[in-house]
């Protein structure tokens, strides 16, 4: 893929970034890990959370090597605290 993707942020990641969604422009062939790296560059405040966060694409948990496709919904999920 190349172009703009939307990343959804939750909990402490959302608070640190000051936004629930962030738009990123990624090069062709970008992966979930590339999106995480671009996010860290754009919002240094959430950098420390990212290594401990899971990533979901289209409601499926993925590893960082997973390639992205146009229109994917990417989500950054810090350690959970439900219950």
């Amino acid at each position: 893929m190349s172009g703009r993707v939307v990343v959804r942020l939750f909990g402490p990641a959302r608070e640190a970034a000051g936004a629930g969604t962030v738009e990123l422009t990624l090069p062709a062939g970008a992966t979930a890990g590339d999106a995480v790296a671009a996010l860290a560059a754009a919002h240094p405040g959430i950098g420390s959370l990212l290594p401990r966060s899971r990533v979901a694409v289209n409601l499926e948990y993925v590893d960082r090597a997973t390639p992205l496709r146009p229109g994917d919904e990417i989500a950054i999920l810090p350690p959970v605290g439900g219950g």
């Binding site: 959804r8 939750f10 909990g11 402490p12 959302r14 608070e15 979901a56 409601l59 989500a75 999920l77 810090p78 350690p79 959970v80 605290g81 439900g82 219950g83």
Partner: protein
């Protein structure tokens, strides 16, 4: 199997979860209700804020229901609700109910269910104090429940 999965900004209606599982063939209903506490490590909590990735949270509830049905095939119903938004002290933040013909399965599945919800549900909790706030991660304990 009867199922009810809710992410809700309204107060959790525990009675409605029970009613959703009413079944004249199931004699056992086990429930767990988690309520917000007024203190964390001695510090007074004024209220809590819960935030969910709603679509994924409902999917995770469905997955948990499927897992429980596989582990305890006699289970006849599962109802799960998680609150989001501002939650006052003493209010329910999460509830799970499991029905089955017999108590062992209902109790074991309910205990497993709340453990898995704590570990997997994409929900985040912020404790609000008089002088600030803190995101609180769950400490994931081993699942040591028996009776499966």
């Amino acid at each position: 199997m009867r199922t009810l999965y809710q992410i809700t900004e309204a107060k959790i209606d525990v009675g409605a979860l029970r009613d959703a599982l009413a079944d004249p063939g199931s004699g056992a209903l086990a429930m767990f209700v988690g309520t917000t506490r007024n203190a964390f490590q001695g510090k007074e909590v004024r209220y809590l804020e819960y935030e969910a990735y709603g679509a994924l949270a409902e999917l995770e509830m469905e997955r948990l229901g499927t897992e429980i049905a596989t582990l305890w095939p006699s289970v006849t119903g599962i109802a799960i609700a998680h609150r989001v938004g501002r939650v006052e002290i003493g209010e329910a933040s999460v509830a799970i109910a499991v029905s089955a013909p017999h108590r062992r399965e209902a109790l074991a599945a309910c205990a497993h269910g709340i453990d898995r919800l704590k570990a997997t549900l994409p929900v985040w909790k912020k404790e609000v104090f008089a002088d600030g706030s803190a995101w609180r991660e769950n400490v994931i304990e081993e699942d040591t429940h028996e009776g499966r």
